[in-house]
């Protein structure tokens, strides 16, 4: 599977030429990028490269900074962990912004996700209304996060207790059963079996040397000379 995380297929031409050229430094273009972010928030896509371009403009022109936009960019970046997007965004924020309340809260969530403390993540997230407010503008935030957790689980486990799964995914009853079904996992006697994939199969391999023909061209050339 080729993953091209940095260019979603839906990236419009305008955005592409904007972030490729020197126009990305033109403060007048910030609104185009901000609108594009709003579109990403409602259609569940994420274009980290374009969003970093917004933060770059804010970095050079602090007076342009729109806190809500920064917030949404960070929330979006949470949904792409373990991609490095979130930290890449943090590096572009100035120190004052990093110490402000909303950012600190989101960093706390990032911390839990990065450490794969999935159950704790949901506890913290559900424990205070502020998190739902912060993530309100990013449509489907919980589902995106849940999917990422499920990916990590599928990479690690071949089978897992239903009870743990429930805590990791924050789903119960029918919702959990449905989720298991869409993932093509199977449940029996309180244990969920996850089909073998290339990440969860732990096979002992011996890597042997593989000499390609191209490496030999020079030597074959020599034998021709003689």
């Amino acid at each position: 599977m080729v993953r091209v995380s940095n260019t979603p297929s839906s990236r419009p031409e305008v955005i592409q030429s904007l972030i490729d050229g020197v126009d990305r430094y033109n403060p007048d273009n910030v609104s185009i990028l901000e609108e594009y972010l709003a579109a990403q928030c409602s259609n569940k896509e994420c274009d980290a490269m374009a969003n970093l371009a917004i933060l770059k403009l804010y970095q050079f022109n602090p007076h342009l900074t729109n806190d809500q936009v920064v917030n949404n960019i960070l929330v979006k970046a949470l949904t792409t962990l373990p991609e490095p997007d979130f930290n890449l965004c943090l590096y572009l924020l100035n120190e004052q912004m990093v110490t402000e309340e909303p950012v600190v809260r989101l960093v706390a969530l990032q911390d839990l996700i990065e450490q794969a403390c999935f159950a704790d993540f949901w506890k913290v997230y559900e424990g205070d209304d502020i998190y739902k407010e912060l993530t309100a503008e990013v449509l489907g935030f919980e589902d995106l996060i849940r999917n990422n957790f499920a990916n990590a689980i599928a990479m690690t486990f071949q089978s897992i207790e239903l009870e743990s799964l429930q805590a990791y995914l924050n789903l119960k009853g029918q919702a959990l059963t449905d989720f298991i079904k869409t993932r093509e996992w199977t449940e029996a006697n309180g244990v969920v079996a996850i089909p073998v994939n290339k990440d969860n199969e732990a096979k002992t391999t011996v890597l042997t040397e593989n000499i390609k023909f191209e490496q030999l061209t020079k030597i074959i050339g020599h034998s021709n000379d003689a």
Partner: protein, 514 residues
């Protein structure tokens, strides 16, 4: 005419030279007026050999004698610096102006060296910083905005140093601007009134303009995909001066973006440069370190020697962190060097209680000197009382927050290596954590053992692949562990030696024929 001989002769007039009063430039008190007043008594102070050197230098610039300029730039200038200007600045540009018929282009180039020398040997004042900036503007303006391409030709090393120094002075200015605590009111006023000087926008503008003018991106695409180079390069880009400045500006942008913390954009800059694209940073570092190691003997006398060694040490430091965070096999030579330099740190990095401190030390030693793009807000009356924003600390904090999660992983790894199957609870008791914590640790370790690896396309694309030779899976509470073994590699060694042998044979045949 060879100047090195002249310098030897000059040693005989040493006495005369050292009798000159040490130039106490009044720049500190008299900001701008100083330039004019120093001019008169400067002229008498220039030693004859330096005068001759400047005339000779000027003539070679006029004649575009790149070969001679190379030796002037790399050797004569440095020798004269050691001799006469080790502790003071070179003669004021105004003072040498009559020697070169007031040739403005030459004076601009001379100033480039003049200020660079001040930056490297003395402490630049705020005026030096401003004037040097203005001089760079003059230089780039001349190159970019003359009618048609300019006829100037300079050695590649100098062109590289121009871009390098331009960015260095930008970085140095940003750091200088950030420290407002012990600045005089005059200096603050100066900074406030001249906010466009050394601004990010102006620096980026120069680098992007050089890239555009030289059509270097188009040229690189042609050299990669084929096509008409002449057409791609155009009127400007076909001249070495423009081509090289454009190429070096791409590398320059990589550096500026790194300094500003925009690592994605930094990488994007390198899209069209032919890199030996390999997995992750280990290999890039290993590659360069092998190069440094092998060329070491050739560098021992060069003035860049110390800098190369310093960069090498920094790379070893980064590599030490890389192999801790993501264990991989290294080249045998590199590995032994690494052990020699950073054995102690390497060892500490695997110990949870000491790791963070060592990570911090190594990071601070090796990281770029990050800059803040805007500097403090000088219009804010409160600004003097605020603690200034230190970009390096900011970046270090984010970096440490990231590695903090990883500090248990080396221990976990060392246990996993001993078993093929193991109960969750048992391993948890070894690690002295509770079983649920261990599970999250295992999931995190799993996620961290995968990374995006470049396969094809632009530098920012890649496939998701495993990096570790140790893999595992969980079946409920049982951990199953598998280790990949790497067979010995002979092919590369034999290929290299067969080729070497062929070269020797070829050489022998030539000599016998002759």
């Amino acid at each position: 005419m060879n100047y090195e001989e002249d310098i030897d002769i000059a040693s005989e007039v040493d006495l005369v030279v050292s009798a000159y009063p040490v130039q106490d430039d009044g720049l500190d008190e008299e900001l701008l007026a100083a330039d004019q007043t120093t001019q008169q008594y400067q002229e008498v102070q220039i030693p004859e050999v330096v005068k001759n050197f400047i005339v000779f230098f000027h003539r070679n610039i006029l004649e575009n004698n790149v070969y001679e300029l190379h030796s002037i730039y790399e050797h004569s200038f440095n020798k004269l610096t050691e001799k006469f200007y080790a502790k003071e600045s070179w003669p004021e540009p105004e003072a040498i102006s009559p020697l070169v018929n007031d040739d403005q282009v030459f004076l601009t180039l001379y100033r480039e060296l003049y200020y660079r020398h001040i930056y490297s040997r003395l402490t630049p004042t705020i005026e030096h910083r401003f004037h040097s900036y203005e001089n760079y503007c003059d230089l780039f303006n001349y190159i970019l905005n003359s009618e048609g391409p300019v006829a100037l030709e300079l050695p590649n090393q100098w062109l590289w140093d121009i871009i390098d120094e331009f960015i260095y002075q930008f970085q140095s200015f940003c750091n200088y601007r950030n420290r407002i605590k012990n600045k005089t009111d005059e200096e603050l006023a100066f900074l406030r009134d001249n906010s466009q000087i050394w601004s990010c926008y102006s620096v980026l503008n120069v680098l992007y303009s050089l890239i555009q003018k030289s059509r270097i991106t188009e040229q690189l695409l042609v050299s990669k995909n084929g096509g008409d180079m002449q057409e791609a390069a155009g009127e400007y880009g076909s001249r070495p001066l423009y081509k090289m400045l454009g190429y070096f500006s791409i590398v320059g942008l990589l550096r500026v973006h790194c300094l500003l913390g925009d690592f994605t954009l930094a990488l994007k800059m390198m899209d069209n440069i032919e890199l030996n694209k390999k997995q992750a940073c280990h290999h890039a570092f290993s590659h360069i370190l092998t190069f440094i190691n092998r060329t070491k003997q050739y560098h021992t006398r060069s003035y860049q020697h110390d800098q190369i060694n310093k960069k090498g040490d920094q790379m070893y430091a980064l590599l030490t962190m890389c192999v801790t965070l993501c264990p991989t096999r290294l080249d045998e030579n590199i590995h032994s060097q690494l052990r020699e330099k950073y054995a102690e740190q390497s060892n500490k990095l695997t110990k949870p209680e000491e790791a963070l401190q060592v990570f911090e030390e190594l990071f601070l030693f090796a990281c770029p000197k990050f800059i803040s793009p805007n500097g403090p807000n000088l219009d804010d009356p409160e600004v003097m009382n605020l603690t200034p924003f230190e970009p390096v600390q900011h970046y270090t904090k984010i970096f440490l927050a990231e590695v903090r999660h990883s500090i248990l992983l080396p221990t976990l790894r060392s246990y996993l290596k001993l078993y093929t199957t193991m109960g969750n609870a048992k391993l948890a008791s070894f690690l002295e954590i509770d079983p649920e914590q261990l599970r999250t640790l295992l999931m995190m370790s799993k996620i961290r053992s995968r990374q995006t690896k470049w396969v094809s396309g632009t530098l920012l694309e890649g496939e998701y692949q495993g990096t570790s030779d140790l893999d595992f899976c969980l079946k409920e509470d049982m951990i199953h562990i598998a280790e990949s073994k790497v067979g010995r590699r002979y092919g590369d060694w034999f290929l290299r030696n067969i080729n070497k042998f062929q070269d020797i044979l070829g050489g022998l045949e030539l000599t016998t024929k002759a």
